[in-house]
């Protein structure tokens, strides 16, 4: 049987340990839990990665078109890839400067790039010359761009 002093010491010790554990948990959550639950990605870094991925996809798409050796196919590719490249160049410039206006224009530039690449992908697929690598690159680009694309729809009222 514990004496009154013993009980008091025991309850005080429990209180101190409890407070320590609570404060420790709060401190650790302040340091790490919020980051683990909602990883923040720098928008510019994501934009840069998206443009680089789309550039790789564009290059491989253009090379695949050239590899067919067919001028008619190349002409069709040109119709898709020219606007895509123009948009990609402007998107890259936007990432380089990354002003408020750049950030506003960026989503719809990506949408234009994706459209051109998707059309080229469909064309090459129909000709049975779409490689898995190119298909995956375009898909990767689309996945990355998907973080920005909804803003394009919002900006043009869904008409773009």
């Amino acid at each position: 049987m514990l004496s009154v002093t013993g009980k008091w010491m025991l309850s005080t010790a429990c209180l101190v340990v409890g407070i320590a554990m609570l404060v420790g948990a709060v401190a650790m959550c302040t340091a790490g839990c919020s980051q683990a639950n909602s990883p923040s990605v720098d928008a510019r870094a994501l934009a840069r990665g998206t443009v680089e991925t789309l550039e790789t996809a564009w290059l491989d798409a253009a090379n695949a078109c050239v590899a067919t050796g067919d001028p008619a196919t190349a002409k069709k590719c040109e119709a898709f890839l020219d606007p895509a490249r123009n948009a990609l160049v402007v998107a890259a410039d936007a990432v380089n400067s990354w002003t408020a206006a750049d950030q506003s224009n960026f989503p719809c530039l990506l949408a234009q790039v994706i459209r051109g690449l998707s059309d080229t992908s469909t064309l090459l697929s129909g000709l049975k010359v779409l490689s898995d690598q190119l298909s995956n690159e375009i898909q990767d680009g689309l996945n990355l761009a998907s973080a920005f694309l909804p803003q394009c729809v919002a900006a043009d009222g869904g008409n773009g």
Partner: protein
């Protein structure tokens, strides 16, 4: 053990706790503060990078 000594130990733990907490906060702040700032990335050069492939595509399309 002497209850007075226990009391002293517990009091010391309580009184030191804010200091301990502050130490943890300082470490967190130091880690965050010492994290290297995002390295200045070289500019993207899509136009130059894609020029050769674009030229080939146009050459074939117009052949």
């Amino acid at each position: 053990m002497n209850p007075a000594l226990w009391l002293q130990i517990i009091s010391a733990a309580i009184s030191d706790f804010p200091e301990l907490l502050q130490g943890i906060k300082d470490i967190i702040a130091a880690v965050e503060g010492q994290a290297p700032a995002a390295a200045q990335q070289p500019p993207l050069t899509v136009q130059q990078d894609t020029q050769a492939a674009d030229d080939k595509l146009h050459a074939l399309a117009n052949s």
